[in-house]
């Protein structure tokens, strides 16, 4: 991200003028200005993936993903509107029923971006019929647990392992409802990879899939990151 922001280059976000640097996406420019646009699969340190669509905004009347649409002078972007937030809530509700999200028994509860975004969108229940898929956990690694029940297929671990750790430990495979996270070892088990707790990929998961063992409740539920302040009032890129 460059800092050469030309004051003549700006677009409008929910009616406010927002300057941007050339090459920035709408989400990058908004984040730099401290404006919250809900997102799950985007992280400032990695290339955009554009898969979750939670960041969808209206750009000159048409819906686009704020993490992939380039900022351009004069664009009219609508994000925090009842219509867009309602659509985001529906997407979140679908994500919740596609996996098994039992927040009361999840170590990540309170530190989870999916949950915090759902709070932000006022999601009181999942609305759709639950799928209850069968997704066994992988506890083969001595320091890291994988609980696939909560995977939202954001590919952040895939990108982090490949781009930051140079290890390529994760991949997404399958189609449609069968799409799932894969571990790149002959056995398919995490214990048979070079994964280490120091890897970026071990700490990037926005939900409770990739969890360091033996520290789940170090901070009690109720005092965790998103218990203290809603996601819209937090600084981007802070550890979850």
């Amino acid at each position: 991200m460059t800092d050469d922001v030309s004051p003549t280059q700006s677009f409008s976000l929910d009616g406010d003028d927002l300057p941007f640097a050339s090459g920035e996406t709408i989400l990058q420019a908004a984040t730099r200005a401290g404006r919250y646009i809900p997102h799950l699969c985007w992280h400032p340190d990695f290339a955009a993936h554009g898969s979750c669509r939670i960041c969808s905004v209206k750009v000159n009347g048409r819906v686009g993903a704020a993490c992939t649409v380039q900022a351009a002078a004069g664009l009219e972007v609508e994000s925090n509107t009842p219509e867009m937030n309602r659509q985001r809530k529906t997407l979140l509700q679908m994500l919740f029923v596609e996996g098994n999200h039992f927040c009361p028994s999840c170590e990540k509860s309170g530190n989870c971006l999916l949950q915090a975004t759902a709070y932000q969108m006022g999601m009181e229940g999942p609305h759709f019929e639950e799928f209850y898929p069968n997704r066994p956990v992988d506890a083969s690694h001595p320091d890291i647990l994988l609980d696939f029940n909560r995977c939202i297929l954001c590919e952040l671990c895939v990108r982090a392992s490949r781009e930051a750790d140079g290890k390529n430990i994760f991949a997404i495979g399958g189609h449609g409802m069968g799409t799932h996270l894969l571990v790149n070892s002959a056995s398919g088990q995490l214990g048979d990879t070079a994964m280490s707790l120091d890897d970026r990929a071990a700490h990037i998961c926005p939900v409770g899939v990739i969890l360091p063992k033996r520290r789940g409740f170090v901070i009690p539920i109720g005092q965790r990151r998103f218990d203290l302040k809603p996601v819209s009032q937090q600084r981007e890129g802070d550890a979850t």
């Binding site: 999200h101 039992f102 009361p104 509860s109 949950q115 006022g122 009181e124 229940g125 999942p126 609305h127």
Partner: protein
């Protein structure tokens, strides 16, 4: 002088739940005195009423794990103008639904027959009075229409209070930050 408004009738029940939501409800403490000015309880663990009568509000804790749960839920729906799914179990099936990808027969065998430490000749209970277990645990909205959900495991006392105050005043309940929680 305006006439005293009629008290709202409220019924509550725990289906496949742990009564934690009811306990949290009682945690509104001295505000119960304010509440009781505005409501009276119909069927609830707090009364000894066996059948739910005509009510304004029904609060359902717990999901559906057996045939009796389904029957009681249907009775609540038929008698309550406004039905509220209270807590994670009523809303998503909750922790009991974590058995949903396991085989029910195998589970019963594990618990009643093959667990270490059981006495010889242990059997899976099959008294005709026991309600039939459902193959899977379900949230209540998969069987009846639900008007509102009050999330939490359990919802906090403040969340209960805020929610009921809105409902009693005829407003659509709205839980802001700190009151909306799934854990």
């Amino acid at each position: 002088m305006s006439p005293t408004p009629r008290k709202l009738k409220v019924a509550t029940v725990s289906l496949a739940g742990c009564f934690g939501c009811h306990m949290s409800f009682l945690d509104i403490d001295e505000r119960l005195f304010d509440l009781i000015e505005h409501i009276e309880f119909d069927r609830s663990p707090l009364t000894d009423i066996k059948q739910v009568g005509a009510c304004d509000i029904g609060l359902i804790e717990g999901g559906l794990c057996n045939a009796e749960n389904v029957q009681v839920l249907r009775e609540f729906r038929a008698h309550c103008k406004t039905l509220v799914a209270v807590g994670a179990c009523a809303i998503t099936g909750g922790l009991p639904a974590q058995r949903n990808h396991l085989d029910l027969g195998q589970l019963l065998t594990e618990v009643y027959r093959s667990r270490p430490g059981l006495s010889a000749g242990g059997a899976i209970p099959n008294d005709p009075e026991l309600p039939l277990l459902l193959n899977k645990v379900h949230p209540i909205r998969e069987v009846v229409h639900v008007d509102y959900s009050l999330p939490g495991c359990p919802p906090s006392a403040d969340a209960f209070w805020h929610f009921l105050s809105d409902l009693m005043a005829g407003r659509t309940p709205h839980l802001g930050h700190g009151l909306i929680h799934y854990d």
